[in-house]
């Protein structure tokens, strides 16, 4: 027989009184595989009630540019950690020879595979993910210099982007925050 004891009620601490934590992600990459880390961590932070900002710069602009956000790519080229596809037994444990990465159609195939794996985990695609984060209260910012360099306007960016800000404004708003560069 299992022994049980009756104890006073324990109420979980949801940290309602902690208001000082803030986290800022800098997204500097525009590849599909490098888009996800910040989005997943931002989602976790928002779910924990942490004030969350995401600053998009340089190649990361592709994540918020309406023209590119639906078409982020993943390539095995130059990625020495790339394995052979899953389901090939022992061979799947081997790294993919770099030469394969340069074959025509490889980027398309790798992108398709990665998207399938991500969808399999019920994780949304990047545009839907960004919309979800905004609905959770995330603040999205575009880098002024990148916008100018790429000849973009605010209207070229997805709706969730609050503003185009320069680096000193970003340094200001990240005061006291944990900053994570991706």
């Amino acid at each position: 027989m299992t022994t049980t004891e009756t104890t006073p009620t324990v109420v979980p601490d949801f940290g309602d009184d902690d208001n000082d934590r803030k986290i800022c992600f800098i997204c500097s990459k525009g590849t599909l595989d490098m888009a996800y880390p910040a989005l997943i961590m931002a989602n976790g932070a928002l779910g924990e009630g942490v004030e969350t900002h995401i600053f998009f710069t340089f190649w990361g602009m592709d994540m918020i540019n309406k023209a590119t956000v639906d078409d982020l790519q993943f390539t095995p080229l130059g990625n020495t950690a790339m394995h052979m596809p899953p389901g090939w037994g022992k061979l799947s444990e081997k790294h993919m020879p770099q030469g394969f990465g340069g074959l025509p159609g490889m980027t398309g195939m790798a992108t398709k595979m990665l998207k399938k794996q991500i969808a399999g985990l019920d994780v949304p695609e990047v545009p839907e993910f960004l919309e979800l984060l905004v609905n959770m209260g995330a603040h999205l910012w575009a880098c002024r210099m990148s916008v100018d360099m790429m000849d973009l306007e605010k209207d070229d960016l997805i709706d969730g982007v609050e503003d185009v800000i320069n680096v000193s404004e970003f340094i200001d708003l990240s005061d006291g925050a944990q900053v994570i560069f991706v």
Binding site: T6, V10, P124
Partner: protein
Amino acid sequence: MTITTIAGKDVHVNDEGFMTEYDEWTEDLGRELAANIGIAEMTDDHWAAIRFLRSDFAEQQETATLRRVTKVGGIPTKQLFTLFPKKPAKKMAYIAGLPKPHGCV
């Protein structure tokens, strides 16, 4: 295993105070759990979310994540943050007498 008394009923809970037995939960208990974490009044909107979590758990054997509550349960994410401020996923699970969600997204 720990037993505690909530709303006059002996129920099983874990170290953090989350209920561990699906069938021990009642709406009266849910109301008391909500009050414990500062939600004094459970409106119809609060209950809609909690009832979705309960019925979804019965089917999936897993607590719905926020995205699932929005996508499958049809309750906007923004509204969940208004109803259960700051940590809606965990707060809803607590009130619904379910484990914390395991998924990252």
